[in-house]
């Protein structure tokens, strides 16, 4: 028995207006014919066309997608392997590792970003010193020093992605029937075969979920990238740089496109899920 109160509906409506008002504004002004973001001057598609010609935006979009994709894939593989290891640890060790693992999740992004930039800057300084002295010692030119850039950005992204993958895979491992692994081996599978043929398929939902979370976190991140990317610019950083001056409606156009893509993806996922559920329900009612 469900009760639906009018006040509840009103609250929901208000919250959704609040959540979507700025998005609505963004989308509407992506079609505005002038650069104004408060006065409507007429309809145009120009910003969408200009968007694809703007090398700064497209460049930073490319960096964002590239670093997110690489970081998400590496983090998913590494996180799944690590989750299996953590799952098989003794309770006490497991809790310690999980506490460590949770640090990037719980900690404020700005601290994660700042601390990593400290690490990169100071190790780069040390390496430069070392290579200088090595060069003079050996008489050849060695340069081990590095600058903050794509590499450090990638490391940072992997670092904050892996914990999310682990947190999404571990529960699936817990749900696993303890005997599955033994059963596979009993039937003649080796350790590796059992892992790939039995364990991986069973925990696949967790892995996929982890991959999606990792990718989303990466695309969405600004703060950590800001402190670790050096001269490379991600999309968030480009937008931030623009906010200091004025955002061009091209960015509005880009986010409109992103929004619509995500919306479609979610709708497809939802429709598929609910049709699956309906099928399951039908099957069940047939059985009983």
């Amino acid at each position: 028995m469900r009760k639906r109160s009018i006040s509840g509906r009103v609250l929901m409506a208000l919250v959704f207006v609040f959540l979507y008002a700025p998005i609505f504004v963004l989308i509407v002004f992506s079609f505005n014919s002038t650069k104004s973001r408060t006065v409507w001057t007429g309809f145009t598609f120009d910003w969408y066309l200009k968007l694809f010609q703007d090398s700064t935006i497209m460049g930073s979009l490319y960096v964002t997608l590239l670093v997110s994709a690489i970081a998400a894939v590496i983090a998913t593989v590494a996180g799944t392997v690590a989750a299996v290891g953590i799952f098989n640890m003794k309770r006490r060790h497991r809790n310690t590792i999980l506490a460590l693992n949770n640090i990037p999740v719980i900690n404020a992004d700005i601290i994660t970003g700042v601390s990593m930039s400290l690490l990169f800057i100071s190790s780069a300084a040390i390496l430069t010193k070392v290579s200088l002295s090595l060069s003079s010692l050996l008489g050849i030119n060695i340069n081990l020093g590095f600058k903050l850039g794509f590499g450090t950005l990638l490391i940072a992204h992997i670092t904050f992605n892996v914990p999310y993958v682990i947190l999404s895979v571990l529960p699936k491992l817990r749900q696993l029937d303890n005997n599955l692994f033994e059963a596979a081996q009993d039937l003649g599978a080796t350790w590796i075969q059992a892992f790939f043929k039995v364990i991986i398929p069973e925990i696949r939902p967790g892995i996929v979920n982890g991959l999606i979370i990792a990718f989303t976190m990466s695309v969405d991140d600004f703060v950590i990238s800001y402190f670790t990317a050096g001269h490379v610019q991600t999309l968030s950083m480009t937008i931030y740089a623009m906010t200091k001056r004025r955002i061009t409606p091209e960015i509005n156009a880009l986010s409109t496109l992103l929004f619509i893509t995500v919306l479609f993806m979610l709708i497809i996922i939802n429709v598929r899920q609910s049709s699956q559920e309906k099928k399951l329900k039908k099957l069940r009612s047939k059985l009983s």
Binding site: G8, F29, A78, V81, V84, N101, I111, L118, L119, S122
Partner: protein, 283 residues
């Protein structure tokens, strides 16, 4: 065979190098000066920023309370909907998070500015004319941008989903037979809420509070975009020490360290507060 736990070793090494070591570096930097050598100078220098600390904590606190006041009833109402509707609403709550949060915050600027959408709307409705005539004033806009209110609004806007999702997921898991049992034992709807639903949803509330408070207390975007130059927060202070004009990573580290301590205290209090509740969720 029996050493499957070894699979975690690379991750442990990675964590030590890229999570633990950097945090240790923060501590080291916080207690050293630019010339090297131990010093407490960084902490002494922080005295002049007391007001920033106070403002950060206060605004984050207000934003967290508002998120709770909106988020809890919303989660509760959501959990009463049919399963299909629930999924759609949850999707709608998460969807805005897919738009870059800088952009969403920036969009609020367009709405709140002195020549922004709200003020334009009010002006075209003749509200300002009316006020000016009645009170014999001469205003053409309501100042909203660059106030602390705007900063809080930005925090609530960005972090509300972090409050709703954990609370909602705990409430929907409450076994409906518990609610029936309470009714059966004579409890009316209010009593059932007070004695069963609320206590059982506390773990969600606590994690919601931390998930909102931590980013709110450390943000520097929201304050920069919506708060103007006068309402700087802890996050701004740290950012300025590392990438801004006031380059001083030692002071920045000291502030970061202090912020970490604040976050740890906050988590500790929350954990103590919710002790024993964890069991309830697991059941």
């Amino acid at each position: 065979m029996r050493r499957r736990y070894l699979a975690a070793v690379p991750h442990v090494i990675w964590l030590s190098v890229f999570v633990v070591a950097p945090l240790i570096l923060v501590v080291v930097y916080a207690f050293t000066g630019s010339g090297g050598g131990f010093t407490l100078e960084n902490f002494e220098n922080m005295g002049s920023y007391t007001s920033v600390f106070g403002r950060s904590l206060w605004l984050a606190f207000i934003a967290t309370i508002i998120c709770l006041l909106i988020g809890y009833p919303l989660s509760y109402v959501l959990s009463k909907e049919g399963p299909g509707m629930q999924r759609i609403f949850i999707m709608l709550i998460m969807l805005p998070m897919w738009i870059n949060f800088l952009l969403r915050t920036y969009a609020w600027m367009s709405i709140l500015e002195n020549t922004g959408l709200i003020n334009r709307l009010l002006a075209s409705l003749g509200v300002f004319d009316l006020i000016n005539r009645i009170f014999d004033t001469n205003i053409s806009y309501i100042p909203m941008i660059n106030t602390q209110g705007a900063v809080v609004l930005g925090m609530v806007y960005n972090y509300l989903p972090f409050m709703v999702l954990p609370i909602y997921s705990v409430i929907v898991k409450i076994d409906s037979s518990l609610i029936e049992a309470a009714h059966d034992l004579g409890a009316g709807s209010m009593t059932v809420f007070r004695r069963i639903i609320f206590p059982l949803s506390l773990p969600g509330v606590l994690s919601g509070i931390t998930m909102v408070f931590v980013p709110a207390v450390s943000t520097f975007i929201i304050s920069r975009l919506l708060g103007g130059g006068t309402n700087i927060l802890l996050g701004d202070l740290i950012e300025m020490q590392f990438l801004g004009n006031a380059y001083n990573p030692h002071l920045g580290s000291a502030i970061s360290l202090l912020m970490m301590i604040i976050i740890m205290i906050c988590m500790f209090v929350m954990n103590r507060f919710g002790e024993g509740e964890e069991q309830a969720v697991l059941m």
